[in-house]
Symmetry: C2
Subunit: 203 residues, 2 copies
Amino acid sequence: MKTKAPHDLETAGTRERIVRTASRLMQRQGYEGTGIKQISREAGATLGSVYHFFPGGKQELGTAAVRLGDEEFTELLRESLDAEPDPAKALVALTASLAEGLRESDWLDGCPVTSTVVGTAGSAPGIQRAAAEAFARWRAVVAAKLVAARFAEADAEDLAHTVIATLEGAELASQVARSETPLEAAGRHLARLIASYGGSGHS
Amino acid sequence: MKTKAPHDLETAGTRERIVRTASRLMQRQGYEGTGIKQISREAGATLGSVYHFFPGGKQELGTAAVRLGDEEFTELLRESLDAEPDPAKALVALTASLAEGLRESDWLDGCPVTSTVVGTAGSAPGIQRAAAEAFARWRAVVAAKLVAARFAEADAEDLAHTVIATLEGAELASQVARSETPLEAAGRHLARLIASYGGSGHS
DNA sequence: CGGCGACTAGAACGAACGCTCTATCCAGAG
DNA sequence: CTCTGGATAGAGCGTTCGTTCTAGTCGCCG
């Protein structure tokens, strides 16, 4: 019986509801600021269900929440980069959409990975590892886009570090300042930085 | 009696010990992850003293901790920028020293303001405000340096947004990856971005 | 039908949380 | 000396924390 599909439809329903709720709450309140009871309450699940799906407790749940945020942003990143051949223009569009999302949440929803991982440095190694993997994956997506736009591989990977770091920092700065300006400036400056590597466009 | 100096020497001693301890702990564990009793214990003060100096409770203490982090980084920023006439080179040196500090703490001590403010978005407006003021002050210091290096005022303020955002993001990325690479790349790329504004140097 | 495993349900535990409160200490003013 | 007020000291409040545990529900296989 390899078929786990039948009742997985239901179990995956509860499990996924818990992870999504955990991710959303930790995005706003941080890892330490979010309680398991609050998660189970808002997810419409009970404490028993939470510990059934996450026997590792809060840390395992936090790790799953970070991974969900990882997947969601990876997809957003890919969509933005695929929609526009020029990576510089794509980044400008991406920062604009990040700023829009942030404003629409009344500046509450920053990067889910960042919010969850900050403050767990020495105490929750699983979460640290998941966050490191998320950053690495995002960098790889950006680097692949740059390589596709005829960048040298070394330059692409190098630039990807700064692209991701600047996006993270600008998202945080915009959230704290309650203003789209940091993200907007980051988009423009990343485009300028990329353009400074010779090619003005995509060919 | 305007002279408050005599016993202020002692009272300021305890008060400052509390704030410094709070700042250090919140830098590592976040705002929610740090307890007032832990702060008082590690500061060698009692609960009574904490609430005597900070009748506003944890939020007032957190705000003071953010302001201390603000002052400390403002000073580090000024030192780095004053030591080198070319702002681009100064930023490379700054990222190197940030990376060194991070590595020396075994990747535990990130930006004290960021760690403290993340996760307090909707719940602690005083902390949010103090963090916004910190970012604005740092931006002003960077912008002033750029203006002194013959940048147009509009360009300088615009660039300052991205400089601060990138520094924040790279510090976070370096901490999570436990690697100096993100900060090192950020320094090089910020220097390149600044250099792209015409002047290759300081005159 | 009986039994079994996946899942739900929530009471209960000890510890820690932020905060309030009273008591005490002590230097300096009168 | 007394008196005063800033500072120290810590017991104790009610609440919430993460976690454990037992009981119960449900669908499916034999």
